[in-house]
Amino acid sequence: MSLLQIAEPGQSTAPHQHKLSAGIDLGTTNSLVASVRSGKAQILTDSQGNALIPSIVHFGAERTLVGTQAQELESSDPLNTLSSIKRLMGRGIEDIKQLGDNLPYQFVGDADSKVPRIKTSAGNFTAVEVSADILKVLANRARESLGGELTGVVITVPAYFDDAQRQATRDAARLADLNVFRLLNEPTAAAVAYGLDQNNDGVIAVYDLGGGTFDISILRLHKGVFEVLATGGDSALGGDDMDHAIGEWIISEAGFKNVDAFLSRKIMVAARQVKESLTNNAFTDILIENGDLTWQGQLSRIQFEELIKPLVKKTITSCRRVLRDAKLDKLEITEVVMVGGSTRVPLVSQMAGEFFDRKPMSDLDPDQVVAIGAAIQADILAGNKADDSMLLLDVLPLSLGIETMGGLSEKIISRNTAIPVARAQEFTTFKDGQTSMAIHVVQGERELVSDCRSLARFDLRGFPPMTAGAARIRVTYQVDADGLMSVKAEELTSGVQADIVVKPSYGLTDGEIEVMLKASMENAKADIAIRMLKEQQVEARRVIEAIDAALIIDGEFLLSAEEFNQIKQDRDMLEKEIETADTETLKQLIKSVEKSSETYVARRMNASVKQVLEGKQIDEVEIN
């Protein structure tokens, strides 16, 4: 007997055609899956009622375990038990080296791919494959709970995830055989869970304090479109640090000496319980028993708050910084949303509330709010809502540009453009007879390509040779609803074209996305100056190219020796100074070449007109 769900009016489906969907919060520490049933978004639990699946995968000799079972093997078999894999998504070997030595895994570099693999006794796995294993478990839970195949899922990613990390997440979903409707920014999902997308306008601060990370995002909602104004945080600050603070307090209070790993683990478990208990109680008793050592004590909430105050203050400092980045006054924030289990600690929501001067929204379970928001989106995207339901849009976090001559980045789609979007721009050739063009796709706000992030390179080849500037090459950037892009280049006179789907190169170091935005503001002036210099250098090279080409054809024929030498002298002077002169000098040098060749240009013009007209009757001349 099948079990039916209540549908929206007029949205009942034919039998076996349910549009089942799920929202997935693929977290660093824990993952969740949620779905909308009978109009209500709920977290899907396992048969024991557990909502959270630890994002841990154990690769055993015989089988792969995911979640709690894998977690149990973490201390006994650390090399084959992979956790916090999200930190490695979309990262290259170089990036991982920079993440530090705190990763216990052995990485295997692949000669022909830049994707690092983690060595386990069951084989070498990429972060994408490990994530796919977690996704499979989540999807299976959804299939079992919903009683059918999923039409599609929405997976959440941090707002600061770049294209490479987003692409990696998508790849993982594909490996897990899931159709991804969309990737949704985590803070946006939290705002959706609270129904904030139903408001028209507002500025929302999403304060996300998890087990090991803190993220603060400022979103602007305008006509149903969420725009990420700024993100910030601390990738090594969370509830675990609170546990440590309590743990250290216990050790000093109890006077434990020579704390071994076993005792340390015991203390941490106790510390965690103490923290959780103090959410609802003013005091809590602590009992540590370790062999013949026994210690009993009591911690009050006030003492606890003293212990963790420095940690919470750090988050407030991040909040202040992110507001400054967003160029907002805190009075402009209309809502504050709390996400992450650690926001249950009363001091956290109290201090966040005091800072933003409003009561934070915390009615929903902070561990579940992101998955709930994703489930609501997935339900809409699966088509279970009436047509007038709003479809949530997202915006690009960083501008997408193309490299032009001189190593400059020309932005084709600017930051904060609502996606999906397609934009085209025309470019031309630089040299006479040029038959191919390299297209270099970059991401970032800076003026120089070297300061931006390289996403992809490809060549448009085989268009007919033409004079410099005659070819018309249209480059189209298209970004789909997930923030993933495809690029097409077409030479319009010949129709030659090439395109790629961006397989981003993995080259971004930790936190750089956030840094990139800041750097573009800080360096705006210097960047513009460099841009102007580079543009003059490009112009200078173009002038030299043109003069050289002309002189070979008819220089000696049209010019006196004196004129020829003058032009040559100015041209050589320009060439000599090209790399060293400043913008203004370069401009002057270009001018003097143009000036000394003025008569030459006029004579060339006359000569070519004469050539066209010579020996023809007036009515034979076609006038275009």
């Binding site: 079990l3 209540i6 929206e8 009942s12 039998p15 209500k40």
Partner: protein, 107 residues
């Protein structure tokens, strides 16, 4: 002519309606589709139509169009679990045969 909801089902429907924030009741119906001829419809109701009959069962308004009522009279709607899956179940005395999954039936 009557339709019954079990206590659990009535409770759930009220819960879902409250969560949805609008809607006056639960629509039951049949459509002629599916592998065995007819399929059940289960929807929220925002507006009552002209040919609708309205029943009340355990405090929940149950709305059925007259045509569907012919095939649903005497049906009991329950809410149950099957493993991790949960949802509404129809026990329909009019149904002679059901498809394997129970989503569609013949009379």
């Amino acid at each position: 002519m009557a339709i019954q909801l079990t206590d659990v089902a009535a409770n759930r429907v009220q819960n879902f309606l409250a969560n949805r924030g609008k809607g006056i009741g639960l629509r039951l119906g049949v459509k002629t589709t599916g592998c065995s001829g007819m399929a059940y419809v289960l929807e929220f109701v925002d507006e009552i139509q002209n040919d609708d009959e309205v029943f009340e069962s355990k405090g929940v308004k149950v709305i059925i169009d007259q045509k569907s009522l012919l095939f649903l009279d005497g049906t009991e709607v329950d809410f149950g679990k099957d493993g991790l899956n949960e949802g509404f179940k129809f026990t329909n005395p009019n149904a002679k045969d059901e498809c394997g999954c129970g989503e569609s039936f013949t009379v």
